[in-house]
Symmetry: C2
Subunit: 147 residues, 2 copies
């Protein structure tokens, strides 16, 4: 079987990702003037509690300068709090603030609704299969191809 772009994994994933994100991103952009990076960080902090910028970046595959700038912006708006690590002054723990939580809660509700709506084209079994497959691919990609 010769190479077929249409079924090339990176190509397929990108097309789907671009399509989907273009329909969701206006939600946080328009309502709360958040960039995609800012939304990702806010949501991550809401879920994972105190973490460093480094951890945040690794976890959500964001470049450290991207994280740095988004964190700076969120901090400036008072949506997150910086807590210096006394044991290692190089790093800082980041935490979502009350003000940030209010925004997050509103967005999480809409994100959940969006996700349900998106996944509604799949039956329960397919949804299960999808999760398993994505996880397998993710793990495979990481273990075999990351430096």
């Amino acid at each position: 079987m010769p190479f077929n772009l249409k079924y090339f994994l990176p190509y397929r994933l990108r097309i789907l990702y671009v399509t989907i994100t273009h329909t969701f991103s206006p939600i946080y952009i328009k309502q709360f003037d958040l960039t995609p990076s800012e939304w990702r960080i806010l949501a991550s902090l809401a879920q994972f509690g105190q973490v460093t910028a480094k951890t945040l970046g690794t976890h959500s595959r964001m470049h450290k300068t991207k994280v740095s700038r988004a964190v700076c912006q969120l901090n400036k708006r008072g949506l997150i709090t910086k807590i210096p690590n006394e044991n290692d002054l190089r790093e800082t723990f980041l935490e979502i603030s009350d003000k940030g939580s209010i925004i997050y809660e509103k967005l999480a509700l809409q994100a959940e609704e969006f996700d349900n709506q998106m996944m509604s084209c799949l039956n329960k079994q397919e949804q299960q299969q999808f999760t398993e497959i994505i996880d397998k691919l993710q793990q495979h990609a990481e273990t075999n191809f990351t430096e």
Copy 2:
């Protein structure tokens, strides 16, 4: 069930896409000094024959300025050919050149190998399921959420 970022469709897709593309893109960047957009266009033209920049953009979800610049660059390097449409002088048909085809063939081989290696963590049945699910999601996203 409360909102869980880890299972949020756009988030999951982005992480997987970023991980995977970061392992494949060095292949065309280092060997042939192609940008991701240029590689996508080259591969699209190799597969679909003569198409306009407009079609190319719609098909692969690329912004028209991105297409414009990538096409310009590929043309400058002689990897594609521009053929004016006599019936509508606004648009131009684009075609891969012999020189471009040589590069494409070499990359297609490696892309195929990469894809097989990536998909090898899934059994035949899962691969089939994956294709069906991605297609369903793509179609659902397009029909319900595109302007």
